[in-house]
Symmetry: C3
Subunit: 152 residues, 3 copies
């Protein structure tokens, strides 16, 4: 499976890989794994801000989580790793939300479904989804990833 062709087939345009907000790097490869830094949701180039259960409904949160997932793919592409993905191993999904919001899994599916859509069975991953009270730049979701890389 050529992932670039698969993305085209799905009509998925990856965003520009965002520069880190601070002094770290987007991707580190070591010991066969790529660790991808927490990615924020940009839709049409604009950061999606606010909290689930206050400013966003679950559907809007899913779209934001998908945007985080697209940014993970964009970072892998920028690092020349998109065609070397052996397995999406783990996603960490942090949902900026009200104290009584409990649909983090539904929101996180925006990122999870994308991985399966793009990579098929290799995209099926372990996951932890939790609520948080606040995120960088008031982003509504942040997603980080551990990816197994071929021949790395």
């Amino acid at each position: 499976m050529n992932i670039h062709a698969r993305l085209e087939e799905l009509g998925i345009d990856l965003p520009e890989a965002a520069a880190p907000v601070a002094s770290y790097v987007p991707v580190v490869v070591a010991g066969g794994f790529a660790h991808v830094s927490g990615q924020l949701p940009f839709i049409d180039g604009k950061l999606v801000t606010g909290k689930l259960g206050i400013h966003h409904d679950t559907d809007s949160g899913m779209k934001a989580a998908r945007a985080c997932g697209l940014m993970i793919l964009a970072q892998l592409k920028e690092a020349g790793l998109l065609d070397k993905v052996e397995r999406v191993v783990k996603l960490g999904v942090f949902v900026n939300c009200a104290l009584d919001f409990t649909k983090q899994p539904k929101v996180a599916n925006g990122a999870s479904d994308l991985m399966v859509e793009v990579f098929g069975d290799k995209g099926r991953h372990a996951r932890a989804a939790v609520g948080v009270p606040a995120l960088p730049l008031d982003a509504v979701v942040e997603v980080d990833a551990v990816i197994a890389i071929k021949d790395a």
Copy 2:
């Protein structure tokens, strides 16, 4: 050490491995590690909900964290990995709590002590325990894990 025998010796009955709440898988094995998805606390088949410092005292939180740990073992068993555990490497413990609750380490010990009880020295792990304002399905604790696996 046969872990199945050890569990029997300890009188520990593992729960049924819970199906993921959403579109991901409970365990991914890659590069010698099993990544286990965030597990929620079921006691007598019922999800334990609420927040530490509001609806639960620390002792009740510990029991819930232990239940998350049992579910991690149940997922490893379901994946055929329980006898191949080389080392419990890392637990991530997310405690659903009030804004002024500070005993996350005590709560998290419910899961940590279980790992040492079951696996002995191989169960001694690194850990991060933090508070969160909200969890999936209002679960009181969520625990994920990284496990080193023999011959994987």
Copy 3:
């Protein structure tokens, strides 16, 4: 590069490696990686407590995050791993903060900048920085780490 000499050159005195608050271990090495438990910020032997956006400004938070980073180095030293660091792979930064605090990246730089200062390019890591409503012992920041280790 001898890291002990480099620390001396930088005038950095590592703290005593703190004992775990509970039943886990500070560092586990497996499969070429050291997983370092979440470390709390001690400055002059005293835990820094409180929340960003309420009790601390960003600059004070950065200093606390740096102190967490120093404790990660102290734990690696205690485990005999400081000279075997191949790459700082990932930092997880949990910032105890008000519900409207959004400068987690700035705070987290306290730890990130330290890693680059000490290890140079090997210190450039992936990162996830998130807000949390509460931390162990009311610590203001907690940082955990994944480190690639030579010949491990």
